[in-house]
């Protein structure tokens, strides 16, 4: 393995062309003598991407993903850090489980795996988990979520928001009123009316977002809203930010690119929670990401077994894999449309998620000498047709199967070590 290499003529953040030289895992001004040379022409270099919303399924559902396969999928997608959601079996609601996840991630070494702790014991929504112990563990947990379920009890939510201030943590909320969404299958609107599928109304998300920003403002805590999916939620977040409330928000690539019209196929690959919404919602989300109302992109990578998707819509699991297609989708809907630059992509997929996750001392760093060589090379010309069989993830439930994406990550480095290399580079590091 080469300890010194230089990527020649690469586009820094998509604007200035430069060489990226690495010696012993650190970015340096000048390439070392004899450093391996990689042709970076036509490529964009960004700091390693940081996903704030990943389901790695280990422990419990290793048939659908493991920390290893999920790490490989992440590296392939350009990510160098992922935040693993707590809805595993057992639930990540104790220091023991989060330390296990964290150290397994380090052992594999392809991405830094940061466990997200459960807000409530067993995700049951009735008793706070020992968040302090998780924060003090070797996993240094800073984000807490019952993702998959909403912390719907307003008193419990208030307590959680207040409690995590003690160790600089934040609650990240899956906003879904459970009563308004009992049995819900897809966005409630014209398509659900035609298809006879039970509706998941936008208000079930918006009412929780509104409540949470008001609570966060009241107790002076920060709140992060997961997978914002509606125009109404965007308006509420915008209003809260204008009031000075410490709210941040994420949007997924699929909510930026797909609508509820996909459900007309009754193909459960398009079944996701929160559901795909209207084209008006998609436009509002794109506007909000471009203007900063929505802070970041997060994948909500949710692997599922074939049998949980190859069935009736109502029986199918919610969720889509997304780590490996995120860069291509964001390029397609935000960059190629002129709404954002690659520098903006670095902000919303690396720098700000690292800050929200309190991992900005090691991720989302500037690309300059002295910093850790943690970055990804993106080829914006590498258009390809998504083939589920070709995914590094153990699961195949991508909504983009058979669709063309304009670009992708072609090499990813974590502290100087290549964690993914397109075949074109494999020789250089042989």
């Amino acid at each position: 393995m080469s300890t010194a290499f230089v990527v020649k003529g690469v586009s820094l953040y998509g604007d200035t062309t430069a060489d990226i030289a690495v010696t012993d895992g650190v970015l340096v001004d000048d390439a070392a003598a004899g450093a391996t040379v990689i042709d970076g022409s036509g490529l964009v270099v960004l700091p390693g991407l940081v996903d704030l919303h990943t389901h790695l399924r280990e422990p419990g559902r290793e048939d659908t993903e493991t920390i290893e396969t999920g790490s490989r999928a992440a590296a392939r997608g350009g990510w160098t850090a992922v935040h693993a959601m707590a809805n595993t079996n057992p639930v990540a609601d104790t220091a023991g489980v989060v330390e296990q996840v964290w150290s397994r991630g380090q052992e594999i070494g392809l991405v830094d795996v940061y466990p997200v702790g459960a807000v409530t014991v067993g995700l049951r929504g009735d008793q706070l988990s020992e968040m302090g112990a998780m924060a003090q563990s070797r996993a240094r947990v800073r984000l807490f979520s019952d993702d998959g379920k909403c912390v719907s009890d307003p008193v419990l939510m208030r307590r959680a928001l207040e409690y995590v201030k003690g160790f600089g943590g934040a609650v990240i909320q899956h906003a879904q009123d459970p009563r308004l969404t009992e049995g819900a299958q897809m966005h409630e609107g014209e398509v659900s009316a035609a298809l006879g599928l039970a509706g998941w109304p936008a208000v079930a998300e918006e009412s929780i977002v509104a409540r949470d920003v008001l609570l966060a403002g009241h107790v002076g805590s920060r709140i992060h809203v997961q997978h914002v999916s509606t125009a109404g939620s965007v308006d509420i977040v915008r209003w809260a930010k204008a009031r000075g409330i410490a709210v941040t928000a994420e949007v997924t690539p699929h909510h930026l690119s797909l609508t509820h019209e996909e459900a007309r196929s009754y193909d459960p690959r398009f079944k996701v929670n929160p559901p795909l919404r209207t084209s008006e919602d998609v436009q509002a989300l794109r506007d909000a990401l471009a203007d900063g109302t929505i802070d970041i992109v997060a994948t909500d990578h949710a692997p599922h077994a074939i049998e949980d998707k190859d069935c009736e819509w109502a029986s199918a699991a919610f969720g889509m894999v997304g780590l490996e297609t995120a860069v291509g989708v964001i390029q397609q809907v935000m960059v190629d449309t002129g709404r954002m630059t690659w520098r903006d992509v670095a902000r919303v997929m690396s720098e700000v998620p690292a800050r929200i996750g309190s991992v900005d001392h090691v991720h989302g760093r500037p690309l300059r000498a002295g910093e850790s060589a943690t970055f990804t090379l993106i080829d914006p010309q590498a258009a390809y047709v998504v083939d589920p069989a070709d995914l590094a993830s153990r699961s195949r439930n991508t909504p983009y199967a058979g669709r063309t994406l304009p670009g992708r990550a072609v090499a990813t480095f974590l502290r100087g070590t290549p964690t993914y290399l397109d075949p074109r580079f494999e020789g250089a590091f042989a």
Partner: protein, 318 residues
């Protein structure tokens, strides 16, 4: 026509062809020997994931009168205990060489998935999928309405007729199928239901909507009034109930003798069955001379014969 999945993808010409064929089928049922040799050697599977004796025996009678071999396959499963998957069932039927599968399923979209899942090659007839579609019910309703309300009905649609559908629109596959089919055939449809049982996304439907039956009767002279069954589970569940009480439902939406008397002399009363007498329909209305409810059942066999005939014996299309 390869499949019959819903009424929303039927053209007017296709729909009229099915109705006209049903007329011919009904005529053959007046004869002494009612059995036709048309589908001899073909296998029709009745695949029922949900109990419905009425619909199953109607399809069974239709297939048998066309001389098809009929296999009844009860694959009862629920969203809780899934049992054998839809896919495995389809692969089994393919292996058995089913020419047509008549499928009733609790999940919306199941017939669509069976037809388009690359699991089997036979024709799929949707006998009701969740709260989505029930096309043969709508076709038999249209057939019944046409017989009573259109002179020399052969080759004609339902142009100019005004038809009310009263009841739980939100959860009704019968309502969805009828809105599309009746409109395609030229009728104007009014929906009458408590606002809680009207889908949120009803906006683009080609209908007008009334929130009680008297308002609807004030606004239009209906040629046909179709009463839908009210499911008991819609009334329970505390805060989740869709209306306060059966009595209030009957007061606002029930077809009682007073409302029956407001109908024009030629108007007919329909119900897909089974009825809740005294709830959505009074005994007087159900048993009145305007009621065509029993005839709907008989017409169901003729319409299903027509559908199977056109799917399995119709000329090959490229």
């Amino acid at each position: 026509m390869k499949h019959l999945l819903g009424t929303d993808d039927l053209t007017r010409a296709e729909a009229i062809r099915i109705l006209d064929t049903a007329t011919q089928m009904a005529a053959t049922q007046e004869r002494e020997a009612r059995k036709l040799p048309t589908l001899r050697g073909k296998t029709v599977v009745n695949l029922f994931f949900e109990d419905s004796t009425r619909t199953r025996i109607s399809f069974e009678a239709a297939a048998k009168r066309l001389s098809a071999d009929v296999i009844n396959f009860s694959a009862k499963g629920s969203s809780v205990s899934k049992g054998e998957s839809l896919k495995d069932t389809a692969l089994t039927l393919q292996a058995m060489g089913a020419d047509a599968v008549v499928v009733r399923h609790w999940a919306s979209g199941a017939a669509h998935q069976l037809a388009h899942g690359n699991w089997m090659h036979g024709s799929v007839v949707n006998a009701g999928d969740g709260t989505h579609q029930h096309p043969t019910q709508a076709l038999l309703d249209a057939y019944t309405a046409r017989r009573h309300l259109v002179d020399e009905p052969d080759g004609k649609g339902l142009d100019g007729l005004r038809i009310a559908i009263v009841g739980d629109i939100l959860h009704s596959r019968v309502a969805r199928s009828n809105v599309a089919l009746l409109t395609t055939l030229g009728a104007q449809v009014s929906l009458v239901a408590p606002p809680t049982l009207i889908p949120v996304g009803v906006g683009p439907w080609p209908v007008d909507v009334f929130m009680n039956l008297d308002d609807a009767l004030d606004a239009h002279h209906f040629d046909a009034v179709m009463m839908l069954r009210v499911q008991r589970e819609r009334m329970s569940g505390g805060g989740a109930a869709y209306f306060p009480s059966p009595a209030e439902y009957t007061r606002l939406f029930g077809l009682d003798s007073a409302r029956l008397a407001r109908l024009d002399a030629h108007s007919i009363v329909m119900h897909p069955g089974p009825m809740n007498r005294g709830l959505e329909i009074s005994a007087e209305a159900a048993d009145s001379t305007r009621s065509v409810i029993v005839e709907q059942v008989a017409n169901g066999v003729a319409v299903r014969m027509a559908a199977l005939y056109l799917l399995l014996a119709g000329e090959e299309r490229p």
